[in-house]
Each structure stands twice: as C-alpha cells, then as structure tokens.
C-alpha cells in the first residue's frame, strides 16, 4: 500500500501519523511512503483548474514510479483534506482525457502520469482491506462503554463523487467506533462544516460553528469526539475552549491505537484527560 502522509502530519499533528503507523505495525499493514511527495495543494482545493493541482499530480507520478508495483496500486491518505484533494485530482485525470494530456504535456520534466492509481482514505483501508469484523478480532483493549462522537466534517463525504460513504448519512465512522468496542454517539451535526480556513481571518465564524458541533455531541452524551482532519481538529478544539469545556478531540487513529494496546501518542495536555476517561470506563465496565 502506497502511503501519502501530508504536511499537517509532519508539522502540526505528528501524533496523528505516529499513532496510525503504530496501528499498521500491529495490523500487519505494510505502508510504503511515496518518495519526495509534494503538498497536496489544499490551498487551492476548491479550484477546478488542474494547473493549480500539479503538486498532487507530481506526487501521483512519484508513486507510480515506485519500484515493484503491480500497476493498480492504492495510495492511502490519513488526513481527510489530503484525501479529498488527491482523490478529486486523480478522478479528474481518470475521467478527463484532455486534462490528463494537458498536464502531461506541461510536466515535460517528468514521465507521464498514466492515471492508474487509486486514492483511498485510511478508514476505507480498514473497512475494505482489513474488514471491521477482523479489526474487532484484533482489538486487545476494547473501549467498552466509551461514548465516542464521530465527526465527519466535509472532506470525507463532499463532493459526492469522492465520498467514502453515503454523503447524507454516513456510517463508516460509527462502524469503526463499534469495531474498537466503543459506543458511537448519534448527533445531528456530525457532517456540519467546522468553518475550515475561516480560522485564519474570521475566527468568530469557526468558534460559532465548532461550539454548536461540540455542544451537540456533548448533549448526546459523548465522552470524546474523533476526527479525521487536522484542520477540523484544530477548529473543534477552539470550540471546546470557547465553551470552557474539556471534551477531548482526538484523531481516529489514536482511538484505534488505544484499542490495539499500542502507543496513542496523546499530547501532554490531553493525556491526563483521556486516561481519566479510560479509568472511568473500566469502572463502568465492571
């Protein structure tokens, strides 16, 4: 499986990548990092001009040229924003022959992209390649009694053409949460947008939206919220702070790591909080 880490995991949230890689070792998933991958081009994510997405194309070419490939490999991303951008670019190149030709003519310093790779998100890997049933067999520390609110945000399910699950009412994260032994919490804001890049110039928009999302999850009984996106995580934590709350916002890979008994790489400010939750959970289980 070819692996695309993305910039946020190497800079802002190393715990996302580190915990995920620990779980891969435990689950026997062999990830080969794409050499010299480029930024996915998330700043231009809403542009449908393919010339704004040469970073993603160059990354796909680099992946395509890795040795010993069978020809129909999958590129797996952890960050849902990276997934979204890479998947949409790849889809455009697969479906639009003219776009593919234009890009290949422009990038004359590289070999042509043959558009035969598939871009998937790590959750799809767990569902389709490992299987949630098999995953729950691998769980050594079931998170029994822990109430987890899945937060999808936008990137995993919008636009519909790249959705990893039903965009109106996805359930892949709930299935994932059940497979690690925890209880998924249903709440009406799981697919609401967190405010995304407004966090740079209009923080109040993000605070407003994140407060509603976190509050809704809390009201539904959530002990914590899991996310697949570094920016959503950052924004939801703003909401938690604005509410003067303590609800941990964790990456889904950290929950998986906890359930597999490997290092979840909790940051110091969340470590105590989450450990307390887990202690409480054990007494609940008794």
């Amino acid at each position: 499986m070819l692996y695309y880490p993305g910039c946020s995991l190497r800079n802002s949230y190393p715990e996302f990548e580190k915990s995920a890689l620990e779980t891969c070792t435990r689950l026997g998933i062999d990830l080969a990092e794409i050499p010299e991958w480029n930024c996915c081009g998330v700043n231009f994510s809403l542009s449908d001009n393919i010339m704004r997405h040469l970073g993603a194309v160059r990354t796909l070419i680099s992946a395509q040229e890795m040795p010993d490939l069978s020809g129909d490999e999958k590129v797996v991303a952890l960050c849902s924003m990276c997934y979204n951008v890479m998947k949409r670019v790849n889809l455009t190149l697969k479906e639009d022959a003219e776009a593919l030709e234009n890009v290949n003519l422009f990038i004359d310093d590289e070999v042509d992209y043959r558009a035969n790779l598939e871009v998937i998100h790590f959750l799809q890997l767990l569902r389709d390649d490992i299987g949630f049933d098999h995953l729950s067999d691998c769980v050594t520390v079931p998170l029994k009694g822990l109430k987890i609110a899945p937060y999808y945000g936008c990137a995993l399910i919008r636009p519909e053409s790249i959705a990893i699950d039903a965009p109106e009412n996805p359930s892949i994260m709930e299935e994932f949460i059940r497979s690690v032994g925890a209880d998924p919490v249903d709440y009406p804001y799981k697919t609401e947008c967190c405010g995304n890049y407004h966090t740079v110039m209009r923080k109040e928009i993000v605070e407003l939206r994140s407060k509603v999302i976190v509050d809704s999850a809390k009201l539904a009984g959530a002990d914590l919220v899991v996310s697949t996106c570094p920016l959503c995580t950052y924004n939801l934590r703003l909401g938690v702070r604005a509410l003067e709350e303590k609800t941990p916002i964790l990456f889904f890979s950290q929950i998986l790591a906890l359930s597999l008994g490997v290092n979840p790489h909790l940051s110091p400010e969340r470590e105590k909080n989450v450990r307390e939750l887990l202690e409480g959970m054990k007494s609940y289980a008794k």
Partner: protein
Amino acid sequence: MPSKDTTTEKNETTGNLVTVYIMGKPYEVPSELTIMKAQEYAGYRLIRGVGCRGGFCGACTTIYRKREDYKLYIDLACQTKVEDGMYLVQIPFVPAEKPQWNLEDLEANSDSIIHFFPEITRCVSCNACTQACPQNLSPMRAIQAIRRNDLKMAADLSFDCVSCGACSVRCPAEITHYHVFQLVRRLVGRYVQKRAEHTAERVKEIEAGEYDADMDILVGLPEEELKELFVRIREGNPLQLPEREVGKHD
C-alpha cells in the same frame, strides 16, 4: 616562451563570428567567448550584472532566447558561451524584501519558515523555478522538502544557490526562494547539523599557543622560501618547517 598579445588573439578569431543581440542591438562577436566577454568585446563597460566572473556570485544572471526556439533560457553570463542569434538581457538583481529574523529565537521546523515566508504554501509545483535556475538546482523540490518538514534535504538541495533570484522572477506564487533557502540553511547549520567538534578542539589548541612557535617560523621565512613551501604543500606533501634560526626575526 613569448608572451601572447591578447588583442591580436581577439582579432585572429574573426573567422568564426556569431551575432548576438545586446539590449536589442546586434553585435558580431567571436563564438568562443562567454556572454560576459562578448559584452565587453562589443564595447560595454560592465558596472552592473557583473561580479566574481567565476560562477559563484550570481550577479551576471542573464535571460535569453535563441532564434527559432520558444524556450526562455536563464544562465550566468560568465559561465555560458555565446551562440548565434542569442537575444540577451540582464537583471542586476531581483528586488525582494528580506524579513528580519533572529536565529536564536527560532526552532528548526517548517512553521518557523512559513511564519516569515507564508508564500511558500502557495507553491503549485509548476517547477518553473527549476527551469529558470542557472545552477541547475531544483528550487521546487527544496520548497516542497520544507513543506514536508525535511529541512536537511532543503538545505542540501539549495546549497549551491548563488541567490541570483531567477527562480523568484518566474514563480507564480511569488516566493523569494533565495531568502527562504538562506533561512533554511541557517536553521540547519545552527540546530540540525552536528557541531564540528574538531574545529572547537583546534581553536583550543591555537588559544593554548600550540602553534605559536610554528607561526613564528612561517612569519620569519623569506618570500622565496615561503613560495617554495606553499608549492610543496599544494602538491600534497606534509608541512615540514625548516629548523628555526634562533633570533633571526626577534
């Protein structure tokens, strides 16, 4: 051996002339000259766009096109031979604001660099910078290495940068690569690379006076002997100082 007269040599080469265009005007120049020499041959006295003449300083970056060729070329005038039909223009420097930073206040990570140079996040990976580089470096790969938080790779990739700014002129994201790369190399040198312990040891030895006696001998040598010694060492022989004649230069 009789000394060569360079003026007659210039005139002897008139059999092989090419036409180049400097500031839009055609000039016939000998084909074996570099662009810089050709400019001087044509009568220009260079006070801008010239520096070390040895391919290191980046001052003579020259943009040109060739006849019936759509490509835009960028090379150092002191390192590139003229070709027939070259249309030449020079940019003495590329204006770019250099933010002030204090190395001791920074951490060696990509966030530090993005703080001062947020433009690097606008890189669309078009690679126009690489095509522009007269040093045949890959500025795009270096910028992307920074995004991956691989500062070591970015510093290595940009090590031969002469700060000519050709990449920055071509960049659609308006990145000022040479300022970015300088910060990267400073950060890597200060925080990532291993300290050169042997240098510190040598400084200590010097401060302890271990080389004072040898230095006295060297300073006291007559010029001819010093020249001979230099040649011997340059040929790979170990340093062997002549016995010091006591009191010679005291």
